[in-house]
């Protein structure tokens, strides 16, 4: 798995261009999230691709061919904070309801809606944590579930994506031989 933070112009059709690129080059997208950034007009995608390091280089190089792409960081090997957010509807009454509420506590999740037949749980954390919560909730009957998919940010100080920033491409300058 390789993870990329991709800064793009927030223009119509950009997601289509990115998706089309992955389809054409036969790269399999594991997850893709998009959202605004602190810079107006620039959106940020977190893309997880099922490929190895060599494939990761090709993904970066190919993304840079898209004109609306401003900057691509391969953050696979960079210390990052990873979060996934899930809303999970569990049908639980009586005893089950108490047990579910205890599990929610253990996972530091929250109950955000209560109805006579069901509870809606909001959980944030790594994908593993959400997977594991789901696992323990499943026996009670998970009625409905929605997840944002992985969002990710490098730890420490990073330069914000300026318009047209000439970025160094993390993970590409292996030896820095030759000249550019």
């Amino acid at each position: 798995m390789q993870t990329f933070a991709v800064y793009v112009d927030n223009k119509p059709g950009v997601l289509n261009r990115v998706a089309s690129l992955f389809r054409r080059r036969a790269f399999n997208i594991e997850s893709l999230t998009v959202g605004h950034t602190e810079t107006p007009g620039i959106s940020r995608m977190t893309i997880v691709v099922d490929t190895d390091e060599r494939g990761g280089r090709l993904v970066v190089a190919n993304l840079y061919k898209l004109i609306p792409v401003r900057r691509v960081d391969n953050i696979t090997d960079v210390p990052t904070i990873v979060r996934d957010l899930a809303l999970i509807k569990v049908s639980a009454t009586g005893d089950a309801r108490t047990q579910v509420m205890q599990l929610v506590d253990v996972y530091r999740a929250r109950i955000v809606d209560v109805s006579p037949e069901s509870l809606v749980i909001e959980a944030t954390g790594t994908e593993d944590k959400i997977d594991s919560l789901l696992e323990v909730l499943r026996p009670y009957g998970v009625g409905e579930m929605v997840r944002t998919g992985r969002v990710e940010m490098a730890r420490g100080t990073t330069t914000p994506a300026r318009r047209g920033a000439r970025a160094t491409v993390v993970g590409l300058d292996d030896a820095g031989a030759g000249s550019v």
Binding site: G13, R57, A61, T168, A175, A177, S179
Partner: protein, 569 residues
Amino acid sequence: MSSDKQTLTGAQALWDCLVREGVTVVFGYPGGAILPAYDAMLDFPIRHVLVRHEQGATHMADGYARATGKVGVAVATSGPGATNMVTGIATAMMDSSPIVCITGQVGSALIGSDAFQETDITGITLPITKHNLLVTRAADVAPAIREAFAIAANGRPGPVLVDITKDAQLGTCELDWDGAAPDLEALARPGHSMGDDPIELINAARRPLILAGHGIILGGAEAALQALAEKAQIPVAMTLLGIGGFPASHPLNLGMMGMHGEAWVNTAIQEADLLVALGMRFDDRVTGNIKTYALNAKKIHVDIDPCEFNKTVKVDSAVSGSVGDVLREWMPHVATGGRSTWIDHITELKGDSAVRDIQNLPDDGHLYAAHVINDLWRITEGKAVVVTDVGQHQMWEAQYYKHESPRSLITSGGLGTMGFALPAAIGAKVGRPDAEVWVVVGDGGFQMTMAELATLVQEELDVKIAVINNGYLGMVRQWQEFFYQRRYAATPISGPDFAKLAESFGLHGATVTTRAEVAGAVATARKCRGALIDFRVEQEDSVFPMVPAGADLDKMIRRPSPIVETAAD
């Protein structure tokens, strides 16, 4: 041309910008959605070449670009006009040719409604353009055109399509040329290099080869390549699109590599200890079986597009940048070569190739395509701009016409688009009116776009056409002969009397059936403005050597020795 700020319609802004971009000629075909632009065109110093099919317009723009190095421009209406451009755009994309295609689009209020002649051409061309833009307001025309030209010509060149709605053409705007300048900083892309030091690899190599591709010509790196090859004494092998990037007569030029490359070149690649790949992309047609490709060699890859690094062949050192810049930086550090053992060895490898060469076949009354092309080369003193189509004749041209200068061979390599030659030659001739332009085309491919003969005549252009007429879709027939037990499914092809056809368009036409007639016919054609020669060549001749698709590069099918062949006749 207008002074700095001026109120114009979107259509006027379009031509104003094109003129400022240096455009003097466009290739196009009108229709409803592009009509406002056509109307405005009359007031600008633009030559319009009316094509007979929009595919022709794109190939002409492409041929113009390849012949001149400038951006070629094609214009079409919405819907069918735009979809007819698709093949030409894909052709330009595969061969990194800078063209800008301008299409009309239905009014912006109608977009998405399946209006008459509405087609989502930006959607359709997304994967076959370097970039495309939809313009729905007059004010956006100028920035879009300026951005399109910057993108088409910079970095690795390629096609850009600008789709302009009818209301954007009709609406008015303040044209602000300077304000419309593209954000070049935003278009800049990070380069990168990786792996071993290329200089060390070169200086340590005993059996190095340079593989020279289209990037040499696109990057204007011919002199830098020659300087490097001569200083380090490294022989140079050419890709099909690299031909012309290094003089054919240069002692270090080995000739073409790959599927129909010279036998000694492919063998040398397999024996080399270093490949220096310059502006080429290890296409499967040049590598053969990738698993057995150049296993003895370290590999250096220089390309302007980092996407090419490690895409098919794993390399030890990759350097991104324009080839010329990189080579100039290398030069002072590259050791002066003494590689005569290696060079002598390659000369030895040529071995019996000369004996097998079709040039040495006696004139036995048969007309071989290779003879025709070799004679054409001799008579035109190797100075013509030759535009070929796709098939056997294309490979024979590459083998037997010796190109000394860049942009003198124009051919569809990556996409292999039949029908390319005639329209691309028209574009080349428009771009370089002083050049002697020859089309070398098969009887199959010619029939795909021969309607452009009318364009040739209407524009009073002097293009010569050599139809290599073998009565077959020859290259496919050859595959059927070699790999499908001679079962000639759908490859025999008939055609009109091409000489008469040419005459009916007002061109000089001639038919040649023996080798003895070749020189005379070519000489006569050279004196006419626009001429076609129908060369009725050997029907079942094949291109040798041939590396079957997917086979090891040095496992070539060779031409049977002439003695055997004469005996079989």
